[in-house]
Symmetry: C2
Subunit: 147 residues, 2 copies
């Protein structure tokens, strides 16, 4: 049975597991979508402000999304998302980092016009293998009510 809007309550925490950011994928993602030298060029990255290769922030967002789909959305009556707020890239994500995600429900709101659905507002956090918070974002997701 999928998760419906009623299954999300403010304060609920979902632990979403972990994902590794490999050097190969950091490089290939950045070459396609974010070709700045500190994302695509090991040598140039060393002399950048980051002192070494780091993942594109959008790659980190996408990695979080995979964990969120595997842990929540993939078993929920999800109707998509109008957007996200306050994406914060707090610390560099480096090759080999293993990121762990946590999803905390902040608020559950009825849809202003559609009684069959509602919005879950949440805080998403991504920690590295040292427990350091590397990214946070505030999301909104639409879910069906239980039929």
């Amino acid at each position: 049975m999928p998760l419906y809007l009623e299954d999300f309550t403010p304060g609920a925490v979902f632990e979403l597991g972990q994902i590794e950011m490999t050097r190969e994928r950091i490089l290939s993602f950045a070459r396609e979508f974010d070709p700045q030298p500190f994302h695509t060029d090991e040598e140039a990255a060393k002399s950048s402000v980051y002192g070494g290769l780091i993942a594109s922030g959008w790659h980190t967002c996408a990695a979080f999304m995979r964990l969120f789909v595997d842990g929540v959305l993939g078993r929920a009556a999800s109707l998509g998302s109008p957007g996200v707020d306050e994406v914060r890239w707090l610390k560099p994500v480096r090759p080999g980092d293993v990121l762990r995600a946590r999803y905390t429900v902040l608020a559950v709101e009825p849809h202003p016009r559609r009684p069959d659905r509602g919005t879950v507002r949440s805080l998403a956090e991504l920690f590295n293998q040292d427990g350091v918070l590397v990214m946070s974002l505030r999301a909104a997701n639409l879910f069906s009510r239980r039929p």
Copy 2:
């Protein structure tokens, strides 16, 4: 000569060109990062609220980033970004859509502690081939001052 902080003035508009969202890349991006049926499964997407396949919102963000790097960051003294605000996925992005990006400078702020750099706050907009605004986001980027 790269673009420095001084080259960004409030109200300045940068047209960033366009990028096509192919069916193949929409599917492969979503299978890796956002495996929800309306992003990964043509048939399932037809019976979803979107009535057909749509791109992951994170894929649209990444596509914007590519245009932003090609048009601005790649020729600027960029020091990275602390994050973005208010990502709004306003309309579905569908296979074959050609997205055009625009970057508008909203504010330029000195760094509170580092006199050699500052922050550009901006509005990014992505339009489809019909001129419909499909995504907007508010970004912050750090740039070096002219030496």
